[in-house]
């Protein structure tokens, strides 16, 4: 716009002379398209209802440029739009509807409700449609991050709209417009008292339409509302039922998005859900949601929900057949709280799975759930090349720890000491370290027990250095035991240490060292010159 025209436009827009409106309308109807667009802008900037209505009347004939110029009316045209919507004129209504959506004129909902409830109005259906569109737009804006430069105080607008829609709910018996009820539901928050009152009162006039809206409403705001209700205390019973029955993908995805384990109110609310219709056929669910993480999350959700044991078992059985390994593993976790033979069979079968993740999940269950006939499978699993499976098996066999073994060592028979000890060495990755620490204990009995335990578990070769240190022990019984145990170890340092022990001040140590050296070196020992032995 040139400087001169800008000055004209500014003067015409701000003039308190109503003739300016007439001038702009005349320019709008003129031959010069560029001036028409300018006139539209001027009329939009003027707060003259007559001028703005003149533009709306010509809306169908406006070019794209002229329609774009209407954007200057944002925030200034609400009164004209209101008049256009109630005018009964098709052209005006159409134009007002388009601009209302374009400018997010949420405040027009009150007017539109008035039109929608008026059975004699020719624009009932379009008014309802427009209410839905505006409510959807507002709900979308509310769910988006706050815009610091936004024109609207969105929460204030929401409250205002809810008030208008609540009035419409009160008149529901008269107008019977379920779409208006759905619009209310879409804007009502999870803690809305009116909505909760309706949900708790089957005799309320709006009970059926509200239930219908919550059960079948495709509006994302309704999904958000149901999810919101899950997160606040006291989930209404009907809302729980609706969450049980809905099988639409957006809701399932929203449910799968719940972070588990969840906060106390959500956990309590999930317990109210005793059925999940979308998991009635896990195979169909797996087909619809092939991603492993989604399947696993679904199983975690089913675990957190208050499903009956039989339903859980059915779900796990089918998931073990068709789900991804992560889904199967998560499904197995559901069995933790379900006793019985059927669950046990599933766990046994899972232990034999080809998937380490599934094996690990089954093994983890066995820690709290001792089951006959699974020990061998667990012991085998300890040697699994897959760290997760091996760790889970170790966890399940955590009873076989070196600490427990040492504690009960004296009470065990010799044969059991050996078999159990070998198992402990396999299961407890820290067994050797624990023995090493035990060898350094201040109590001589514990040091002696450690040497005997190391012998029983067959771990002496791994403790050669610690045993060599014990040859310097203050107690000659310990030194003798260490010297005796070293016959099972190899290495030049062991031999040197035993040779040194031949000079020990204790005869029993000397004998033990000599015996060990004999055992170790055999013929080699015979060729070496024995050192001079000190006399006891």
């Amino acid at each position: 716009v040139s400087q001169g025209l800008a000055a004209t436009l500014r003067a015409l827009s701000k003039s308190r002379n109503d003739a300016a409106t007439a001038v702009l309308v005349a320019a709008l109807d003129g031959d010069e398209p560029s001036m028409s667009a300018l006139a539209v802008r001027g009329l939009m900037e003027r707060r003259s209802k007559a001028g703005q209505l003149a533009v709306l009347r010509r809306w169908r004939d406006l070019s794209d440029a002229q329609r774009e110029a209407c954007d200057f009316g944002r925030g200034r045209i609400a009164a004209a739009l209101r008049d256009a919507l109630v005018s009964g004129d098709d052209r005006l209504f159409e134009a007002a509807a388009q601009l209302a959506l374009r400018f997010d004129e949420f405040e027009l909902v009150a007017t539109l409700i008035h039109v929608a409830e008026n059975s004699t109005s020719p624009h009932v259906a379009p008014a309802i449609y427009l209410v839905q569109q505006l409510v959807d737009a507002l709900a979308t804006r509310l769910s988006a991050p706050a815009d610091p430069h936004g024109r609207h105080d969105l929460q204030g607008v929401r409250c205002s709209l809810l008030e208008s829609l609540a009035g419409s709910l009160a008149r529901y018996r008269t107008h019977q417009r379920t779409e208006l009820v759905e619009a209310y539901v879409a804007l009502a928050g999870p803690e809305c008292e009116t909505l909760r009152k309706i949900l708790d009162d089957p005799h309320h006039a709006c009970f059926d339409p509200v239930i219908h809206a919550l059960s079948h409403g495709s509006n994302p705001a309704i999904t958000s509302l149901l999810m919101g209700m899950l997160k606040v205390p006291q989930l209404p019973h009907m809302a729980a039922k609706i969450l049980e029955r809905r099988t639409d993908r957006p809701l399932i995805e929203a449910l799968l998005g719940i972070g588990l384990p969840c906060a106390a109110p959500t956990a309590a609310n999930l317990q109210q859900i005793t059925e999940l219709a979308w998991l009635a056929s896990p195979r169909q669910f797996v087909t619809a949601f092939p991603a492993a993480e989604q399947q696993a999350q679904a199983m975690r959700l089913a675990t957190a929900a208050g499903l009956r044991a039989a339903a859980r078992l059915d779900i796990v059985a089918e998931m073990l057949e068709c789900a991804e390994p992560a889904g199967q593993a998560a499904a197995l976790e559901m069995l933790a709280a379900i006793p019985g033979d059927r669950a046990n069979k599933m766990i046994r079968a899972a232990l034999q799975s080809n998937e380490p993740e599934v094996q690990a999940a089954a093994a983890r269950l066995l820690r709290e759930r001792p089951m006959p006939g699974v020990m061998n499978a667990l012991v085998e699993l300890v040697s699994s090349p897959h760290p997760a499976a091996a760790a889970a098996a170790r966890e399940a066999l955590s009873e076989f720890s070196m600490d427990n073994y040492l504690r009960r060592f004296e009470a065990l028979e010799e044969s059991i000491r050996t078999t159990t000890g070998q198992l402990v060495l396999k299961v407890d990755p820290e067994a050797i370290d624990k023995l090493r620490r035990e060898l350094e204990d201040s109590h001589r009995m514990r040091r002696l027990r450690a040497i005997r335990a190391a012998t029983s578990v067959g771990g002496l070769p791994l403790l050669a250095d610690a045993l060599v240190q014990r040859l310097e022990d203050e107690d000659h019984v310990v030194r003798a035991a260490a010297a005796e145990a070293l016959q099972h170890c190899t290495g030049s340092d062991v031999r040197d240490a035993l040779l040194a022990a031949l000079n020990d001040r204790s005869r029993s140590v000397q004998n033990a060292a000599e015996a060990s050296l004999s055992a170790l070196e055999g013929a080699v020992w015979a060729t070496t010159t024995p050192p001079e032995r000190p006399h006891a």
Binding site: G4, T8, S15, N17, D18, L24, A39
Partner: protein, 137 residues
Amino acid sequence: MSTTAPLPGLLGQLSHWQRLGDGFRSSTNPWQMSELAPYLAGLGLAALVGLLVHFWRQHNDMSLRCDNPRKLFRELCQAHGLDAQQRRLLLEVAEAACPYQPALVFLQPQSFAAERLPPALAERAAELTSLRERLFA
């Protein structure tokens, strides 16, 4: 000797008492209309001045709400800072192109086309070109 006059005697002279204040009234001439003339003239003058101010404001105060095409024309001339000569010239163009809405000339560059101008303005082509450029360029 009794000091009180008998009551019936006093009541009998009541008509005389009613005339007692007559002697205090002005003895000058009665009130004349001509005495008001200066005041009326002053009032008339004040009303005239008020009317003139009112009309002046109606004519020139652009902040007053109105529906006046010619005033709008003047308002736009003011907005563009046109001098009296330019205003007169523009008004002639406007009266030829859009007599009912002279301000429309500010949004109709085609009004300055030679074929639309009255013959009397043909000689002032240079001024018109300058004015057109000022308004639209």
